[in-house]
Subunit: 445 residues, 2 copies
């Protein structure tokens, strides 16, 4: 059985304001699924891998922040490994390998394929992985990569220079990082491909490399000693040092949806959400996650994206560098998916003496609960507007539902469990409104 | 003493989304006052009239909806006449004249000057009014108008064709409504002016015309019988029928700030509110009344305006016709100035079975109060976040302030008076959330 490892990390600002620290771009529900509904980049990749990839089990290598949203989007059928801190791709992949060995009991000879979790590709991309696995099993190289057939002499990618043919694979002669256009054109004439960041290897191969850093390569040991691993990339630590590397070429659609410009090319409609495009608009896309309506007219090749975090209005050729401008615009996410549900910040204010309020819409999914907790600095006023749940307040459980209002004062222990999908309007007030002002204790539901 | 009557009416959609049914364009705080603060078109006109106009008393002729916001913006130094229903300018001016006679006790020979409440002009506009009053007092005509010296052969205005000179005034030979450009050019060569909608007359002149419709021209009678007055304009009913009309020419700045394109020319800065313009923007203006930040880059000659009612993004040459597109986008104002203060809608939702919620920020000004009232269909949950006030709930008065939460159930009588400026977060919930679901009763504070 092939083990497919998907790397899910990434900063949250590339598709601001829809992406944020808690919701990276791969989680945005912007693409069209085959049944016409919306799916995220991650959901699309998982769906394609199941339909067209090698027979495999999947594991997501990610961080603690993304764990809840991945469970929300994928359910329980996919393993999740969370790194204890952010380092780089070598430690993350090594930790995932230790997980496959220790937790899933995979053998040293099992094939592992590592890939990013969010490329926008055709199904052939996943069929190419099966060929990579075949090449590895046939012993053509220690490491088999995917080469992306270039459609232009881009300066943005690393290039694989091909060596002799091995059948469906070729040997890698050498690598070239981000050449200028003239050099890239020459490389294209020699049949070079872009390095797609997809790696196939035997599980034992990476575990052996890991053992040069840690005597004990069990999952718990690697997790506990994560900070001892070098902050280097898998390319630098493994690929460049390998004695034999091959690659299989993929020719087909392959996009990084990392800017609004590239993303807009694959959006299923020009307008999504409560918005209207006027008759003088051309090649303009609107994604509105606010309830406030948008009217847009007379713009050409522009993108408008609105969320509780912010509103972006830009011509498409200006969307590359927005990250640097929007740093510092907003100091906390206004929308988050959590394990128990989702919340949106409707508003926040600061009054005299620094006293503050935040008003949120909370949705708690049926059967889920918010843990038993207490705050030292804030009151929370919950107005129940839909669904039914069980409220625990200082140890006393009561049933709550539409029309109930509960004032939870600072110092009061509280928890809530949804019996049916529960909608709450929450007003937080206090001199300090900080997600860290929380003490969680156990509660036996 | 000259009596200056300012007509304040107008639909709310011309400067959508900042203007709405409750906040017409003349009330938007977008212009720069001499001290660097922001003032509305109405406040600017009143300030200019006081500084440069004839010695006068001022009266605003308006409707019930605008009364509160006018008091908020102008204080108590200006008289306000509210028409019982919307008809046209002749009934509105006639009602104001009846008010001047009956309520203010003005004599039949007093000079009345009627003007729109929102033209953007130089101070010379108001000095021209003094000349109009002089011409009237000298008996040069029954009616003296202001002619605006044209700066182009516009097809949008009515033209005054000049007759013989009377000194600083001229006789009006005839009027021409909205000529085509060729005809307008010919009129300009003959010294024609635009009709600026400013009229000077003796009070008794209009009261006499009014008496052809109503035997009793006292204020109460005109108010009670308002629906008997013809739905016609002052131009049609009075100006066109006058036996002698003169005009005084005004040469200077004169703008109708009725589109975002014209308004943007006088905005004091490119960015107002929480917004950032990127380096690739040109001739672009942002007015953001939301707390959500806006980042805008790469646009040319565009305007972005955001309020709780909506978000407009348009090239400046497309702002003329937005009114027709935004009709129906929003079904109630999300921001209102009331006599007691202001409110902003943070969010609203509809749940299963049509149950609804609306969440608002309320500010009640110190000393003001919300009337004693009861709702049949909605609960209101008030969280007090700043200031102090007196709450009346089913006849019982208590002092409330920061940290208090009150759940007002449907059927409960309630009122609130602010002792200091009071900030409340209000959550309304119920099967019907309608401003008309209210019964007001008296309360003796």
């Amino acid at each position: 059985m092939t083990q497919l490892v998907l790397l899910s990390g990434g900063s949250g600002k590339r598709l601001w304001p829809l992406s944020n620290e808690a919701r990276s771009k791969q989680f945005l529900h912007l693409l069209e699924a085959p049944d016409g509904s919306r799916e995220s980049m991650l959901q699309r990749v998982i769906r394609q891998a199941r339909a067209s990839g090698p027979e495999c089990e999947m594991t997501i290598a990610t961080n603690q922040v993304q764990k809840d949203i991945i469970i929300n989007q994928l359910g329980d059928g996919v393993g999740i490994v969370t790194e204890p801190q952010r380092r780089n791709t070598f430690p993350a992949i090594a930790l995932a390998c230790a997980y496959l060995r220790s937790v899933k009991g995979c053998g040293h000879d099992e094939t592992v394929i590592v890939m990013p979790c969010d490329p926008y590709t055709g199904d052939g991309y996943f069929r190419t992985m099966a060929k990579m696995a075949e090449s590895l099993v046939q012993g053509q190289a220690e490491l088999v990569l995917m080469g992306i057939r270039p459609d232009c002499p881009s300066e943005k990618f690393g290039y694989i220079i091909p060596g002799e043919s091995l059948g469906s694979a070729r040997k890698v002669l050498s690598f070239t990082e981000k050449p200028d256009t003239a050099r890239a054109e020459e490389l294209l004439r020699r049949g070079a491909c872009w390095n797609g960041g997809v790696f196939a290897f035997r599980l034992g191969y990476v575990l052996d490399m890991l053992s040069s850093y840690l005597d004990d390569t069990s999952f718990q040991s690697v997790y506990d000693n994560y900070s001892l691993l070098p902050k280097t990339s898998f390319d630098y630590e493994v690929v460049e040092k390998a004695s034999s590397v091959a690659f299989v070429e993929y020719e087909g659609e392959w996009k990084d949806l990392g800017t609004w410009n590239s993303l807009s090319e694959v959006l299923p409609s020009h307008v999504s959400g409560n918005a209207l495009l006027g008759p003088h608009s051309r090649d303009t896309h609107i994604v509105n996650e606010l309830s406030v309506p948008i009217f847009c007219d007379g713009l050409e090749s522009a993108v408008v994206a609105a969320s509780p975090d912010g509103i972006l209005i830009a011509s498409k050729d200006c969307t590359e560098g927005i990250r640097s401008y929007v740093e510092g615009l907003s100091d906390r996410p206004m929308y988050e998916e959590r394990r128990w549900g989702v919340y949106t910040v409707m508003g926040r204010s600061t009054y005299s003496d620094g006293y503050k309020s935040i008003t949120k819409n909370l949705t708690i999914y049926a059967g889920r609960n918010i843990s038993y907790q207490v705050h030292a600095h804030r009151d929370e006023i919950w107005t129940f507007v839909d669904g039914e749940g069980l409220l625990v307040l200082d140890g006393v459980t009561t049933k709550v539902g539409r029309g109930d209002v509960v004032h939870i004062k600072k110092g009061q222990y509280h928890a809530i469990k949804a019996l049916t999908d529960l909608q709450i309007i929450e007003v937080q007030t206090g001199d300090l409104l900080d997600e860290n002002d929380i003490v969680r204790v156990g509660w036996d539901w």
